[in-house]
Homo-oligomer: 148 residues x 4
């Protein structure tokens, strides 16, 4: 299994603290909390990629779809997990984040993708992604995560 | 958009209370909490479908993959949401739950599917699904959720 | 241990679904989720006590303090927990909710109290509670929860 | 308002990442998530204070009571919050953690205390704290947090 970080995808690595309370009775990080960690990865990556102005230009985004492949249980440790994030597609009003999640020992625990839509929250309808925001997203373009 | 409940899928309907705290700063139920609601739907459906003995026969299950299509924002209300759940596939060691999530007014807010694996938690490897458990799952078989 | 509901406190009873995911590796509802259940109790009680107009009159409220006494572990079940809620104090700009939380079998699992402040979110400062809202709160006044 | 960290309490400082999803519709970290952050602080402090053997000696602990005073709203930022934690009391079978929570700019957002009980999970009854564990806890003893 080749690590995505070895590829030419040029992903951004985000370190995320786990919380003991992310675990469930099966003694590993609950499947739902993987989605919480992906959300935090998106927020932190966009904070790094966009400056305040260009982020404002992008405007609010909604989640249209999210697929998560759980590769291996994630066990809590005080050392952070690491999520590699990149963009696999930029469309007119939507774009897709892809991710590889690694545990504190560098082992792949999940692959995932999130389709985001630039949205007008008032009308709950899609908006075109402004060119300035497209440029930022395109700078982080890579191949799709190798989900089964 | 035809409601899945009108089809011949024979889904089980689970009513789920929303919590005000499921919302995020965008003032609707956070995308991550949809996964929490799906988890609760699975637990309650299995509690209805299996008697204690047959549930014990199935043993622990792990999530191998989950795909969620977010159709429309879900707004908090004291009235419960409703999730329709059925089985779309039963394999040797894995099976798939499909879902349609409806808000308190009966509007579709999400479609989803979860691939579950019968697992040996000690060795973290897959187990064959016992015949007794297969029979229960097959009794709730239906067509795949019409995800895009 | 006398159940608060037997007293003259005239509490409002709110039934709350538990979620399997409220549990932690110790196999009972995590201590943090008790606070989530209290929040939901407040929201649903205020929805019952206030009509839309009087709730608008009260305006946003912030939590100034919350004390929870954990009496006994709360185990997950598909049957709802029940939280009794009443008001133990109404001041000029703050008031206090008291609670008794019962499991699905009617056993007390927690006592708690929450000091709420009528707040101006812009200035993050306290506001006087309008008379109309005070009347509603005073109609649900009872003795303090018997915390140790 | 004197910062607890300036006192002779000798607290341990734990840096905790916030998550965007910790926020609620009021656009600040939800009151319930403060309890989640305190839990994580306890886990990480005990991981620092105890070696594996002495932590095993202490055994499982349950929460008997938790009081949180919310001093000021906590706003999300990618920079971590900081929680100062120390022990304010060591008894025969219970002990008390006290905390001061600071935002990314060093401002106090909460004070709190948690009464923990050394517990036998089978019988759900209290156990005596072993001497080895008492010694570790006593090494982090300080004055009670100045809660109102």
């Amino acid at each position: 299994m080749q690590c995505v970080s070895d590829s030419e995808n040029n992903p951004t690595a985000i370190e995320l603290q786990l919380r003991w309370g992310d675990m469930d009775p099966l003694n590993h990080v609950n499947n739902v909390q993987f989605a919480r960690l992906l959300e935090e990865t998106r927020v932190r990556a966009m904070d790094l990629w966009f400056d305040g102005d260009s982020r404002a230009v992008l405007g609010p985004i909604l989640i249209a779809r999210q697929d998560i492949e759980y590769v291996r249980p994630l066990h809590y440790s005080p050392d952070p997990a690491k999520v590699l994030i990149w963009v696999s597609r930029v469309g007119e009003s939507s774009f897709t984040f892809d991710y590889e999640m690694l545990d504190a020992w560098g082992k792949r625990v999940a692959l995932a993708k999130t389709v985001c839509v630039a949205a007008d929250l008032e009308t709950e309808s899609a908006r075109a992604i402004p060119d300035g925001a497209k440029r930022v997203l395109n700078a982080h373009l890579g191949d799709p995560a190798p989900m089964r």
